[in-house]
Amino acid sequence: MIELILGKYNYWVYITLMMIGFYAMIEKENLIKKIIGMNIFQTAVFLFYISIAKVKGGTAPILWEKEGIPYDNPIPHVLILTAIVVSVSTTAVALALIIRIFKEYGTIEEDKILIMSEVSGKQDSTENSKFLSSTSLLQKGE
């Protein structure tokens, strides 16, 4: 058991972080809060990747003169470099949307926006109530 914990704690921390972010993404009403959650969520996944790359006693994956020292695995680093960029791009677009939404609706709280949409067009209301039933099924796909 101890071994299991020692061997895996790094992974579990990332899972915890990820769940915190995930929770914020689906539960928070504030649109910016969701984005903050999204950032935590994604960074957690990046942490997981970086954890894969770690080799005991390894050094940074840059060629050294000295032979015989194990290097850490460079591949996840590469992948995460790309993923970080994707993440920041998504954040930028999301923030742009939020700015526009604020301009149009005057608020960045999702529930208020939904109420406003209900007044202006009833179609959104059906979505709103359906959200519950559908999110509850969100995990069944697994």
Binding site: N10, K54, L63, P74, V88, A92
Partner: protein, 342 residues
């Protein structure tokens, strides 16, 4: 031990960021979270990633969110009822569907299930740091052993990033480009009325900032170029360098304000032009490789001296392309999001 503490810090920051009401504080905490993450990654020897996270996660993301906050709202509203009161006496509250305790429970349930599945997955995982884990022996081995020979780049990360998986990086640059164009599409207005006068007045008083900026900016820019150029040898590369360069321009704008609309227009035109130019350089180098008879992005085949030389120059080329696009997009994004419209 320090690693464990750092990880604990991460969790604390994450919880704090999610639960605080003041969005500005939240953003700052998110920045702190990113910085700690940077430290964690440095300790995990992922220097390139840490570099990027420091400039992007802690830097750009924070700046962007603050810019967005300045154009929206600072406080998170609603949810004046705590979760427990929601759960215990929901009938007292006037709640919309979205606020119902059932929904909160559902979200929690989803999150917990996902987490449980993930933890279930970890049972069969190789232990942390296991050098014989499949991830570390299959592809990685060859990269570590041969990439210097094959590409002439001592930084394995750069070698893979720019050469073996250079196409992913083109995709990455395209993503940035897409984000830049998306923001132009979403936020740009034709009329450019900038309330620069106010800014200038405010900034005039900050003589210290101005002076420091004036001294600092050239060095920052120089450093950016260095990072781009030295991506092969040390951590860093086009992306990080581009971010730094972009930051220097942003710093300039913050410190000095935008004196005239004309300058804005110049920046804007330049930004648009450079957005495309950067990606075009990257994609174009690929096409040149095609024309030279190689595969796409096969730098060796470029007619630039020896294979190693060609490969090296090709990698420089794309790094520059990445740098230009990143810097240009950053500037564009900053101008678009930070501009106040009255």
């Amino acid at each position: 031990m320090i690693d464990l503490m750092l990880l604990l810090f991460l969790v604390v920051c994450a919880i704090a960021a999610v639960s605080m009401k003041d969005l500005l504080s939240t953003t700052i905490i998110l920045g702190v979270y990113s910085l700690i993450m940077t430290v964690v990654w440095t300790r995990l020897n992922a220097v390139d990633v840490a570099f990027t996270e420091a400039s992007v996660g802690a830097g750009i993301t924070t700046v962007l969110i603050i810019a967005a906050l300045s154009r929206t709202k600072r406080e998170e509203e609603g949810q004046e009822y705590g979760m427990w009161s929601k759960l215990l006496n929901p009938q007292d509250l006037k709640l919309t569907d979205k606020q119902s305790p059932l929904l909160w429970l559902t979200s929690l349930f989803i999150v917990l299930i996902t987490g449980a599945v993930l933890i279930y997955g970890t049972i069969d995982m190789p232990d942390f740091g296991d050098p014989d884990a499949p991830a570390n022996i299959h592809l990685a081995k060859r990269f570590i052993e041969e990439s210097y020979e094959e590409t002439g780049v001592p930084n394995f990360v750069t070698a893979i990033l720019a050469s073996y998986r250079g196409y992913d990086t083109l995709g990455e640059t395209t993503v940035i480009f897409t984000a830049g164009i998306s923001l132009i599409l979403l936020l740009r207005r034709k009329s450019y009325i900038c309330d620069t006068t106010i800014k200038e007045k405010e900034m005039k008083e900050h003589i210290v900032i101005r002076t420091i900026s004036r001294i600092l900016i050239p060095f920052v820019q120089l450093y950016a170029l260095y990072v781009i150029a030295h991506g092969e040898l040390s951590p860093g590369g086009g992306f990080q360098g581009g971010v730094i360069f972009g930051s220097s321009i942003i710093l300039y704008v913050i410190a000095f304000g935008l004196e005239e609309g004309r300058k804005v227009r110049i920046f804007r035109e330049m930004g648009d032009l450079l957005n495309s130019t950067g990606v075009l350089i990257y994609a174009g180098i690929g096409v040149l490789c095609l024309l030279a008879g190689g595969a796409y992005l096969e730098y060796d085949k470029l007619p630039l001296g020896s294979e190693k030389m060609a490969s090296s120059l090709g990698i420089y080329g794309i790094e520059i392309g990445v740098g230009i696009t990143v810097a240009a997009v950053m500037i564009t994004i900053f101008f678009i999001t930070a501009r106040h419209e009255r």
